[in-house]
Amino acid sequence: MTNLSNTTGTMPKRPEDNGMGVSDNLLSMRNLTVSFKTDDTKLTALNKVSLAIPEGKTLCLVGESGCGKSVTAKAILRVLAENASIDEGEMLFRTKSGAMTDLASIRDRGEAIRKLRGDEIAMIYQEPMTAISPLYSIGNQIVEALRWHRNMSEKEARREALEVLRQVGMPAPERRIDSYSFELSGGQRQRAMIAMALICRPRLLIADEPTTALDVTTQAVILDLLRKMQEQDKMSMLFITHDLGVVAEIADEVAVMYMGNVVERGPVERILTDPVHPYTKGLIASLPTLSKKAGESLKTIPGSVPHLKDRPKGCAFSNRCELFIDGTCNQLPPLEYGIAPDHEAYCHALARCDASPQTDAAITSKLAPRKNEQDSSRKGGPDYNADPILKLRHLSKSFTQSSGFFSKTRHIHSLNGVSFDLWPGETLGLVGESGCGKSTLGQTVLGLHKPTSGAVEVQTEDGYVDLAQLPRKQLKKHWHDIRMVFQDPDGSFNPRLTVFDIIAEVLRMGGQSLTGKDITKRVEDVMQMVGLDKAFLDRYPHAFSGGQRQRIGIARALAPQPRIVIADEPVSALDVSVQAQVLNLLKDLQRELGLVYLFISHDLSVVKHISDRVAVMYAGQIVEIAPADDLFNHPKHPYTRALMAALPEPIPRSMRETKPHHISGSVPDPANLPKGCPFHPRCMFATDKCKIERPEIDATGYQHAVSCFFPQLSPAAAESDIQSHAH
């Protein structure tokens, strides 16, 4: 790492560089190295990380899982795990008094850090349900920090708490201050946690994936709030996220991390529009977005993030990098490469092409977006002239929930009359927020839940068969025709079975009476289809990475040669770079095998990327269904529009045309749906009619259909209308 110290002179934001000892950085982290002791080895979680958080600005830490983002946050607050230690480096924090404190050298249980925690440096977490104690009212927990740090009287503290709750937009703060975390909705809980963090007016707020557990509409509201609070209090923020869309919403500066190294840092506009490091470029290219053309194959980063114990020598990214220079990248730590005074990357290849322009050309050509040849050659595609392969008619499902002998039973209406058709060769994307019934729909189609009413008609050699009427025994043979890919690549495999047994199970149970040889052949075939070596067949699932496991899941689905595959959030547990690989694989397989996908996801951009048609679900109903381009270019339902407005796109705020508007409220309780249109309590355009009558939708066929009384409103008209409602 000698090169780093050589270049410190050019480091733009080193406080000491400024002769006066004054700089605009609140926190300067230099060469921070953190390691974890495990049984056998010492793992380096942070490797000489240097960061600067400017006063009043937001620094975003971006990276895939395991890259050291959360460790960085915990290191600042000195709340690292027991087996972790800071081996090297400094974290200079300018306190209120103006003195510089090195957070890396003070005791982690000492008075000094405790004075800062919760007062000058506060933190909000991903999961407010577990970060807020259910035993104390939220008011109690908010005033805690005030009473501790400010020595305030109870009455004064409560007044402060009410004020901060009002500021974070908590509805009816006088009432909510005495409620408990479990009485609040997800968004309200997150607001309460933000209030808790802001009560002492911290100068640095650390937010660790604060919106990841939230629905996209709630996320948009919370991001707005955080930005507003930051501007108002002139607070600095360290914002941790894996989502480049969120980065665009909130960041001023961005640091991209990979395996405990910062690989590139710079202003958000530059990182998102003109990244230089191959990893950053790969991340951005592999992200499906609304603005990218649908159907295009995504660019991928090969492989996946290795375990820390397998950190490659030299540059940590060298084994996945397309600019890899043998003998350099895998031997020496990467060189710092400055693009602009405030934008730098750590890469041998970039530094080298600066020196010799010839290699520059070679590297630039490698970096240019790959034209996708397969795009035009796409054969098959949806065939809307044929008969639908699957017809859903008025499918409803309600669950009864009782928690004991004496408690009242609740009826949960998960599906309320869902109809649509699936045509050969098409992908129907099913999108909606959590609790909208999309997963229940997938499972009800298969017959895992017996529908309360309605029909699931699947095309067979002897005409249409209604799966909803069939007993389990006869359903089984259709389960070879309609297969499922599960969300969680951890929980969907029996940990006691080898990969071979996992994939072969369906073939052994099949009615086709295959011999052992046939089964082996078929299993090896599907392994090859999903791009896995058949040498893996005798391994157990825990040994694989998330992306590889999802490939095994796809292989299992494909084993009995199905026609329809229901994929329930198949990529939502995966890192961005791996997600792109799996999405590409799904598309390739569809092209080769002529599969029909019902693709269930909460992520609009993923759905847009993979789907021919898209259905939007809300409260157990389809509110809008249309061909993908049509839906994303001309959304008609207010909910669809709200979803699209809430989706953060990786385009920096300063470069966007319109400021999106966000709906408030949350998804209704499926046990207690509102009368009339279920969306009316959150809808800007709701009239009295919407509150009484339920709008109908004919979602069969392949044309654009919408369940709304006033769908014609143009986006512009909607804009102005929302404006007038907002005030």
Partner: protein, 372 residues
């Protein structure tokens, strides 16, 4: 396809081949107390196999002149310094004022010790006759009392060793019975759910709310006094498992409920597996390690229950030798005061129970998939 093939291709050597049970063993090895528990438990069970050979005397051998003989120390060297392991006999002095006896080591009564010596005749495991003992006085007529003797002059060490066979295995028998009941009823409860589940759970709660000692006493009283020892042994183990199965049933039910919601069970259903195949191929192997852990933790409970019942005189009865029966010797203050070494079986109970508990704790932690 070439693109995706290349991206996922990894060297097969990078994917480890270890099975789930190998991982559990790896995690278990980290648990130091658990490992100690494992070795101690194995040692005790090994001893129960060879009690006749390990014990220096027979279980029923008595000698009235050695009544309440205190523990003897092993000396390795004689007075003239030559190596010769021996114990010293006691000279008994009777104090007529207080009415108590005192034992003074007599340097002239040297009892030489050796390995693989002739002694009381026995039948190993009731089958193979023999008279050799691992360790004892070289002359068969002499006696050695390393932890003293009881009121009939029986060797406490030998009897404790003999008792381990009954006491350690009655736990196994009881747990085996509880396990069958627990898996069957708990599995039924978890798999059926709904009304069946409610009924079974309420019944379990009822059983658990009964005070255990009076219930045991009641059941044990139903065993006729003239029942042969072996039959009593089995009846007592049934009595113990009447309450023991409820805890196991709850654990099994909990695992069932948790597993039922796992995606891989759903996947197995969609693969077309029958109910029994889901139960036995997909569910059961996933909680065998938990069950082994719970069983290990249940055995000490059974051992303690047997000890308590026998101590109270309602469990096993002489001539059967169990730790509880041995502890009956110290049911009064006088024997406690004059012969505290009679507590020795109690010490062994503590060691055995602790070892099993450590082992069970270690297994439970290792089997928990969330503890990586």
């Amino acid at each position: 396809m070439t693109d995706t093939t290349a991206t996922a291709a990894m060297q097969p050597t990078q994917i480890e081949r270890r099975s789930q049970s190998a991982l559990i063993w790896k995690r278990f090895k980290r648990h130091k107390l658990g490992l100690i528990g494992l070795w101690v438990t194995l040692f005790i069970y090994l001893c129960t196999l060879f009690v006749e050979i390990l014990a220096p005397q027979g279980a029923t051998a008595y000698s009235t002149k050695h009544a309440y003989y205190p523990p003897q120390r092993i000396h390795f060297f004689t007075e003239n310094g030559s190596f010769k392991p021996h114990v010293l006999g006691y000279k008994v002095k009777f104090d007529y004022d207080t009415g108590s006896r005192s034992f003074i080591p007599d340097p002239r009564k040297v009892i030489a010790l050796g390995f693989w010596v002739k002694g009381d005749k026995y039948k190993w495991l009731g089958l193979i006759p023999g008279d050799r003992h691992l360790f004892g006085p070289i002359k068969p007529r002499e006696k050695m009392f390393l932890v003293g003797a009881d009121r009939l002059g029986r060797d406490v060490l030998s009897r404790t060793i003999y008792a381990s066979r009954i006491s350690m295995t009655i736990g196994l028998a009881g747990v085996a019975l509880s396990l069958v009941l627990g898996i069957a009823i708990g599995g039924l409860s978890g798999y059926m759910g709904g009304f069946t589940d409610q009924i079974i759970q309420r019944f379990i709660e009822f059983l658990q709310s009964l005070p255990s000692i009076p219930l045991w006493i009641g059941l044990a009283a139903a065993i006729p006094a003239e029942t042969p020892p072996l039959e009593t042994y089995f009846l007592i183990s049934i009595v113990l498992s009447v309450l023991g199965w409820t805890g196991l049933a709850r654990v099994v039910r909990g695992r069932f409920l948790a597993l039922k919601e796992e995606d891989f069970i759903r996947a197995a259903t969609l693969d077309g597996c029958s109910t029994s195949r889901i139960l036995f191929r997909h569910m059961l192997p996933n909680f065998t390690s938990h069950i082994i852990a719970v069983v290990t933790l249940a055995i000490p409970g059974m051992i303690l229950a047997e000890t308590a019942l026998s101590y109270l005189g309602i469990g096993l009865r002489a001539p059967v030798v169990s730790w509880g029966v041995l502890l009956q010797e110290i049911q009064n203050i006088r024997s406690m005061a004059t012969a505290p070494w009679l507590f020795f079986p109690g010490l062994i109970v503590v060691i055995a129970v602790l070892a099993l508990n450590f082992l069970g704790d270690g297994l439970r932690d290792a089997a928990d998939p969330h503890e990586h």
